[in-house]
Amino acid sequence: MSVVTVQLGQCGNQVGQQLLHSLLCDAQDGQRKELCTASRERFFHQDTHGELVARAVLIDMEPKVINQSISRAARSGMWRYGETSHFSQKQGSGNNWANGFCVHGPAHREVVEELVRREVERCDRLSGLLAMMSVAGGTGSGVGTYVTQCLRDVYPKSFILNHLTWPYGTGEVIVQNYNSVLTLAHLYQLSDAILVHENDTVHQICSQLLNIKHISFADVNSVIAHQLGSVLQPALTADSQGAYSRNPLGELVSALCCHPEFKLLSVSSIPQVPLASMAYSSFSWPSLLKHLRQMLISNTKMEEGIDWQVRPPAAAERSRSLTAGSFNTSLANVLILRGKDVYSAETAGFEDPALYSSWLSPQEAFSVWKSPVPFNKYEKSATLVSNSQALLRPLDSMVGGAWNMFASRAYIHQYTKFGISEEDFLDSFSSLEQVISSYKELR
């Protein structure tokens, strides 16, 4: 039951490498044999010498980051990438989505499909495909979207989960909003679920929780990898009947993204403490879950600075939109608990109907996955994957920013010259407006 990871662009390749590394490091302990076996089988295969080789394909339009990821993996001594599982070119995509989607993607389609096909065929059973990319640049976003489209064509029945890293709001790339809008609008039709990490949020976690002074992309990537790892490491689900789930992507998608208009997922996890403080920290499930619940409701991603004033609206108030302004309504949630005494954790707080929309009961909207094995050195940890209004504001501002630029047709010529017309932009805007509207009305 394997997941094939497709790492796209600079960000995708960096985060992907960190993710696989943290998954394997976590699964190293000899005592947890079942989890180790399940985790390794999911993300790695063994070559003829018994070495662990990642079930991953690395794609970028320039070679630098791919080479770095490959060598970093090899240096760990625990695993490596396949020798021929990567594809790169000499020149990047120039932060241009159209260049990635219309030029580079089609030009290298066959090579990429062949690489993925080889990995898929090595799997006894394919659980699904995990495509990792950022949305700000040109390769991750443009080529990544094109590759997702190809994967959807070639594997129509497989589950495809896209992990996206959203850029800093202040702007890493001047046309990042255009790239983001085009990516999201296209992926919404292709992907089964879109799991999002925002650089701004993760940056805050690094600075306020982890006390990192000079935050680099490596730190940000490490937090993303930890959160993603806590979702993807094997767990016991309601369907898995006492064994570690063999269908992680399918179960995640089925629990959270059954409605075609609601596919945006966000992740919160608790606790997040610096490594140095780990020894001095003790955690209890009631406290962790109480904090996590409030983080969900008040839409904060950190256990510090939670607004405890935000409450679920009473039944009578549900229809009034103003009072529900700061309350984050969820469509569905998956709570993943890992660690000691996990079976004694009381999760009733997440089954409150007030947290959810009126048309889905908490029984259908809420699922719990558990693993008695701690993750990544946290004695107890809880991760919440949420399909809620949490991403509404950043999405709205992203679309708004793109629209403002589009209104004056700024930089549009750079897209039209590669084959993306103004109609394509307008289509993307309208589909995202539909998504925004759907989430706004979620009650």
Binding site: R125, S127, F159, S254, S358, W359
Partner: protein, 393 residues
């Protein structure tokens, strides 16, 4: 792209061979050779016909269209043909016989018989199969609420079902791979003799079953890939059937009525005889009375006797196969597909049924009136006779 006739004919032969392999794999005993299919298209002769009769009988027995009588008990060819005809009638097939055995087979294939045979055989061979329960009919509320929340909920549920379907499909694929691996690994040559003969016999049996199952599934997959060619060829058979002058002549009976099927002939004739007899008798009785009611009755009877009795129109009932094509929902639309519109003078099965029902109602009504008239008449007669009282039942 021009393809030579020879190439097409070779392809067709291969496709029919695939079909024959599949039919044999489903456990059918009397599968004709591919060459016989070609011969059947042009008439075939008695030997070929016999083979197809046997095949059709076998298929129908396996599918339960007719009761399962052991072949040895069938009293010769006539009995066999009656059995087959009865079975085909039940599946909705009515046509002339001589060249239509092939069309009859095509009909059965198109109506899902192949899948039925396949499922039966799989259930026989696969001991590990958990028979899927029949789909539960969830009772939907009679009035579905149409507010946006309900619509959203329905969309969610549909999405959830779709995801479940994909998950199940992937599980099925994995299971198939594992089964294949097991069957390959446990081929008889590689099975080492175990300590107990019984267990090794059982193992061998299981191996054989699994091998047969794999062969069956493979044959079915091969068939599905080339099925389209077969239906195109069947089109040509039907075309040949239509344009064949010999056949056309034989379809028109001496009395000018269009051909009908074996059973329809007998039934129709009986019904016609009954109807012919009916007005004649009543005509005789009706003339005796002239009561006002009777006039109505008599008039009615008179009218009836004068007018042509409402005989079952033979022409509409003589449907021909070519007037309707069995359309399978799963088969791709064949190029020559003519849909279900009847040609002039032909009737579809449903229309014939409707006509028969109407006639039945008419006859029942007439019978009722006749009974009433008879009773009235009887009462009058008794009334005229002294010292007699009629106590009607």
């Amino acid at each position: 792209m021009q393809r030579s006739a020879a190439a097409v004919s070779v392809e067709v032969k291969q496709v029919i061979a695939a079909l024959c392999r599949l039919l044999a794999a489903t456990g059918l005993e009397c599968v004709p050779a591919p060459e016989h299919f070609r011969r059947a298209k042009f008439g075939g002769g008695p030997a070929v016909e016999d083979q197809f009769w046997q095949l059709l009988a076998n298929i129908q027995q396996k599918c339960g269209f007719v009761s399962c009588e052991p072949r040895s008990q069938l009293g010769g060819a006539t009995e066999l043909r009656r059995l087959v005809a009865a079975g085909l009638w039940q599946t909705g097939y009515h046509a002339d016989w001589i060249k239509d055995l092939l069309l009859a087979l095509g009909w059965l294939l198109a109506t899902g018989t192949l899948e039925k045979l396949l499922t039966q055989r799989v259930e026989q061979l696969d001991k590990t199969l958990i028979l899927t329960p029949s789909p539960v009919n969830h009772r939907l509320p009679t009035e579905l609420p149409l507010d946006s929340a309900s619509v959203r909920r329905l969309q969610w549920l549909v999405g959830s079902l779709r995801h479940q379907g994909r998950t199940l499909l992937s599980m099925q694929e994995e299971r198939t791979c594992l089964l294949h691996a097991v069957s390959v690994a446990s081929l008889p040559s590689s099975v080492s003799p175990s300590s107990s003969d019984q267990s090794s016999t059982l193992l061998r049996k299981d191996c054989v079953c699994l091998q047969q199952l794999c062969d069956l599934l493979e044959a079915y997959l091969n068939w599905r890939q080339v099925e389209k060619v077969f239906w195109t060829w069947m089109d040509s058979v039907v075309d040949g059937h239509l344009t064949d002058p010999v056949h056309k002549k034989s379809t028109v009976a001496p009395n000018g009525r269009a051909a009908r099927c074996h059973h329809g002939n007998c039934g129709l004739e009986k019904l016609d005889d009954m109807l012919l007899r009916l007005p004649t008798r009543q005509k005789g009785q009706g003339r005796v009375r002239e009561a006002p009611e009777g006039r109505g009755e008599g008039g009615l009877l008179q009218g009836r006797s004068d007018s042509c009795p409402p005989r079952l129109p033979c022409c509409p009932l003589a449907y021909r196969l070519h007037t309707e094509r069995p359309v399978r929902h799963s088969s791709p639309p064949a190029d020559g597909d003519r849909g279900g519109t009847p040609t002039a003078g032909g009737l579809s099965a449903s229309q014939a049924v409707e006509l028969l029902l109407q006639t039945e109602a008419l006859l029942l009504e007439r019978r009722g009136r006749q009974r009433l008239a008879n009773r009235t008449q009887l009462q009058e007669m008794i009334g005229r006779l002294d010292e007699l009282v009629l106590i009607p039942p």
